[in-house]
């Protein structure tokens, strides 16, 4: 245990990178996912089909394949990104497919009458989305988005496979240095739980509060 404690700064630096990776990918995934959701509910068939293809491809293929594409695939085309950026893009694009589905379900839950009312008041399609549909859609979308934040936090660990020095990567380093497998994984697991358990608790509370006054 003493040897693991001596290596604690390494694990904490990994934890710091994990947090940066999660925060960056989450912001980007929300933006991308909302854009794709708008494609999926657009009045144009071509855009709807493109949105559906994007979602089906990304959510049915492994995250690690996406990370490999950004980190090992792009240099083949002459574009080399730092591993951290590649991992962040892989994670963000992957998660955006699920975000898109959650936001789309929220948008579809806003009744047609409201959209017609907004349009008849002279609001443009973009204005209707911005001022009428999206604010209401997000209230319904919050619990699934919370669940996705948990998934994304856990999925940051996959970045270790493309050599990003986040928590899981550092845990392997400490394990190789100390051979104290149980202690190293105990500390590392506790750090992950410190992120995911409070998040999970928050999401289930929100879920109960938001559905309290709504019949299924």
């Amino acid at each position: 245990m003493e040897r693991v404690i001596a290596n604690l700064p390494l694990l904490l630096s990994g934890f710091h990178t994990t947090l940066q990776l999660a925060a960056g990918a989450l912001v980007l995934a929300l933006l991308l996912g909302t854009l794709v959701a708008l494609l999926r509910v657009s009045p144009f068939r071509v855009l709807r089909v493109a949105g559906a293809a994007y979602v089906e491809f990304l959510r049915n293929t492994p995250l690690l394949v996406h990370m490999f594409f950004w980190v090992f695939g792009l240099p083949f085309l002459g574009i080399t990104l730092p591993e951290f950026v590649g991992a962040l893009l892989g994670l963000a694009f992957y998660t955006s497919a699920f975000v898109a589905e959650a936001v789309r379900a929220g948008i579809l839950s806003v009744s047609r009458g409201q959209i017609e009312a907004a349009r008849s008041l002279g609001l443009s399609y973009a204005q209707t989305m911005r001022w009428v549909v999206l604010p209401q859609a997000f209230a319904i979308t919050v619990p699934p988005l919370g669940n996705l934040a948990i998934a994304l936090t856990k999925n940051t660990s996959v970045a270790s496979a493309v050599l990003v020095a986040e928590l899981m990567y550092q845990a392997e380093v400490v394990n190789a240095r100390t051979f104290a497998t149980y202690e190293t994984f105990g500390v590392t697991g506790a750090l992950y739980l410190a992120l995911t358990l409070p998040l999970g608790w928050l999401v289930s509370r929100l879920e109960r509060r938001l559905t309290r006054y709504r019949s299924a």
């Binding site: 049915n60 959650a102 856990k154 940051t156 660990s157 739980l193 995911t196 299924a216």
Partner: protein, 253 residues
């Protein structure tokens, strides 16, 4: 930028050779071995965990709650590494020492450990979705607990569990690719070997591997849609599967 490399014949031509496909498909075989073994085992252990959590025996209830809540909050990759390094050093289970060095075994143990915890919650939610009146009727008929579960509750609950379980299996098939990190020769690793040896370009090999995963998972999700899923339910199941949490089962009616 060298976009021409994306469509260059020389980076694709290896896929015209049957040996390349045999090479990739042996990887798929390992992928499916891990996935099928973990699916079968996690259904058994998941059901046992759910029954332990639902039961009133504190000696079974609390350990089940602890296991489920901790394991599903951990990253799958963490568990894969843990059971790989831990398996080499050995675990003692009820006084018996077990150890393994085969990465396929480590991957199956890790994915089973994780998926059992999530499946337990799916099974529990399915059982809790059965109306109270049915349990009372079964009790009134004098059915013992085990028979009530087997004859009344589980057959009905099972149908409601199919969509979330299938979502979980899609996640599992994707997660088998993580076994790459411990040196398992599954599909993704084979694709990487292909392009590392300059047989194909990296984007080409990754794309073909992605298409194989896509085919399996898309068929799985098509299958699940046959179970009269309500709108929105499939989505919730899928997002929950991704997070390792469980979507609340809507009350009937």
């Amino acid at each position: 930028m060298q976009l021409d490399r994306l469509f260059g014949y020389r980076y694709w031509k290896a896929f015209l050779e049957p040996e390349i496909w045999v090479f990739l498909l042996t990887g798929l075989q390992a992928t499916l071995t891990i996935a099928v073994a973990a699916i079968a085992l996690s259904l058994v252990f998941g059901t046992l965990l759910a029954l332990a959590r639902l039961g009133r025996l504190p000696l079974l209830h609390y350990p089940a709650v602890l296991y489920i809540e901790v394991i599903r909050a951990l990253p799958v990759l963490f568990l894969i590494f843990f059971f790989f390094f831990g398996g080499a050093r050995g675990f003692s289970v009820a006084g018996v020492r077990v150890s393994w060095t085969d990465p396929i075994v480590a991957a199956i143990v890790a994915l089973t450990a994780y998926t059992s915890a999530v499946n337990a919650e799916i099974v529990r939610a399915g059982i809790l979705s059965i109306e109270k009146g049915q349990l009372e009727a079964a009790r009134a008929l004098g059915l013992p607990y085990i028979q009530m579960m087997r004859l009344v509750v589980l057959p009905q609950a099972l149908r409601r569990m199919v969509p979330p379980l299938v979502s979980q299996f899609i996640t599992l098939v994707k997660d088998t690719s993580l076994a790459y990190v411990i040196g398992t020769h599954e599909l993704l690793n084979k694709a990487k070997i292909l392009y590392s040896g300059f047989e194909t370009g990296p984007i080409q090999a990754l794309f073909v591997a992605a298409l194989i995963y896509l085919t399996i998972n898309y068929s799985l999700s098509r299958f699940s849609r046959r179970f009269e899923v309500r709108p929105g339910e499939e989505l919730r199941a899928e997002i929950a599967a991704e997070a390792g949490t469980v979507a609340p089962v809507p009350a009937k009616g």
